[in-house]
């Protein structure tokens, strides 16, 4: 059974038809890169998958369970879907450790000690063990984003959604975040990422989904799709970004 399944998903913002019948099927362990021009609906697609946005038609299932924007459902969903944002969204008034421990303690009801142990392990994983007691603002963008990844991982999600998580970073900091993602991919984490990092999409990703005008315009194996695009739109897009 697929981990994430979208069937003919339509999404409107008022009159604006943003997603026009998306079909997508993602297996556990896959690394799927969503690419496309600005406004093509990439973020919207991602945000529908974890119930941050509602959709008007079609169906989305996660691990066989239907996704809705119902509050209780979103929270239930949050237990298996992690999300990382372009601008980190760390909580400024908490230390790195507190940021990571918060949800495990108040949502998963873990004990402080247990949550701290998890937080330390996750920080270790992203290479920031020594930052446990630092405040987010003291960290570089790349470090903040790695903390955000650790915070998401502490909830042991089945799939991680990443929306342009390196776009707000200085170029020299992009590498450290991508390295963490690559490591996660190797460990078998399911990743769905909106990205402009074509090299990453090709080398680490299994599959690329090219969105255009609210549709999945072209999709396929990452290396194949990026080296020999079929549609003019994708050729144009690849020409523009490379």
């Amino acid at each position: 059974m697929s981990l994430v399944n979208l069937h003919q998903v339509h999404k409107y913002y008022g009159d604006n038809h943003v997603l026009k019948g998306i079909d997508l099927d993602i297996q556990a362990g896959e690394v799927v890169s969503i690419i496309g021009k600005s406004g093509s609906g990439k973020s919207t697609l991602l945000r529908c998958i974890n119930g941050l946005e509602e959709y008007q038609q079609g169906g989305i299932t996660l691990d066989g369970k239907e996704v809705t924007t119902e509050d209780i459902q979103v929270r239930c969903l949050a237990l298996s879907v992690g999300m990382i944002f372009q601008n980190f969204n760390l909580f400024p008034h908490m230390t790195v450790g507190e940021n990571i421990m918060l949800a495990p303690t108040i949502v998963l009801k873990k004990s402080k000690a247990e949550a701290a142990a998890v937080a330390k392990a996750m920080l270790e994983k992203v290479g920031l063990a020594e930052k446990f007691d630092s405040y987010p603002e003291k960290l570089s963008g790349g470090q903040q984003q790695r903390v955000a990844i650790a915070r998401a991982l502490a909830m042991s999600p089945k799939v991680l959604l990443c929306d342009e998580i390196t776009s707000a970073l200085d170029p020299e900091l992009v590498g450290e975040v991508l390295k963490v993602l690559e490591q996660l991919a190797q460990e078998g984490m399911t990743l769905i990422l909106v990205t402009h990092e074509m090299n990453f999409a090709r080398d680490v990703g299994n599959r690329v989904v090219f969105m255009h005008q609210g549709k999945v315009w072209e999709e396929g194996d990452s290396k194949q799709l990026l080296s020999s695009p079929q549609t003019d739109e994708l050729k144009q897009f690849i020409g523009a970004v490379l």
Binding site: N50, L52, D71, V74, R75, C76, A78, L79, V81, G82, M83, F85, N87, N89, L90, F91, P92, H93, M94, T95, L102, A103, I106, V107, L108, Y135, E137, K138, R151, A152, M155
Partner: protein
């Protein structure tokens, strides 16, 4: 010639007035901020109907004189069977007044929180109450803390008006003393200084609490 020594025999009167003012100030500050916090949360995140109700309350209070609000509660409400002591009426009027002003102030703090913070909490599985108390409140209050402090001091100073319904507060004490010994200059000067001290003390308390609440600012 000034005769401050004529005030000494009224030390007890001043002290008891001061105590009443302090007592009412502390109580109404806590209750008023609590009320303002609830209303601000409703105003910012609530359903349309409750948002409107809060808006009506806030505008009603902010656009009418405090003394009229006080008189309404003390002299007006008995007409519908709600009879309050002067102290109770003052407490309620001050709380309602501070509640309305602090609603607007706190709401400004709430709306300064980036949407991403709330979404981050949501995707981590927190419910709304957890998000509000753990994620939103601290940075929101930090933003508006100076304004909130000032408003509480304004309400404390404005509480002088409650002597009009014969609550024996600091101003009542001043009126009483000067009517007995006709030392208006001395009485009101001393009273003014006492209010000044109260205002400074209140600001100090707020600063100390703020230092604790927003300790993360210091650490950075």
């Amino acid at each position: 010639m000034l005769h401050f020594s004529d005030l000494f025999q009224y030390t007890d009167v001043f002290l008891s007035g001061l105590l009443t003012t302090v007592e009412l100030t502390l109580l109404t500050t806590i209750l008023g901020i609590a009320l303002g916090t609830c209303c601000a949360a409703i105003r910012q995140y609530g359903h349309t109907v409750s948002q409107r109700l809060v808006a009506v309350y806030v505008e009603l209070i902010r656009n009418t004189p405090f003394i009229v609000q006080l008189f309404f509660i003390f002299f007006g409400l008995p007409a519908i069977g709600l009879k309050l002591t002067p102290w109770q009426a003052s407490m309620i009027a001050l709380t309602i007044n501070l509640g309305a002003y602090s609603t607007e102030i706190i709401r400004a703090g709430l709306s300064s929180i980036p949407k991403g913070q709330i979404e981050a909490a949501k995707v981590l599985g927190m419910n709304f109450r957890q998000t509000l108390t753990r994620v939103i409140f601290t940075p929101a209050f930090e933003k508006i803390y100076p304004a909130l402090t000032s408003q509480c001091i304004i309400v404390m100073l404005g509480s002088a008006v409650i002597s009009q319904i014969s609550v024996e507060d600091l101003t009542y004490a001043a009126n009483l003393v000067q009517s007995r010994n006709f030392r208006a200059f001395e009485s009101y000067l001393v009273t003014a200084l006492l209010y000044l001290v109260l205002a400074i003390a209140l600001r100090f308390i707020f600063n100390q609490i703020g230092k604790r609440l927003f300790a993360y600012r210091e650490v950075r």
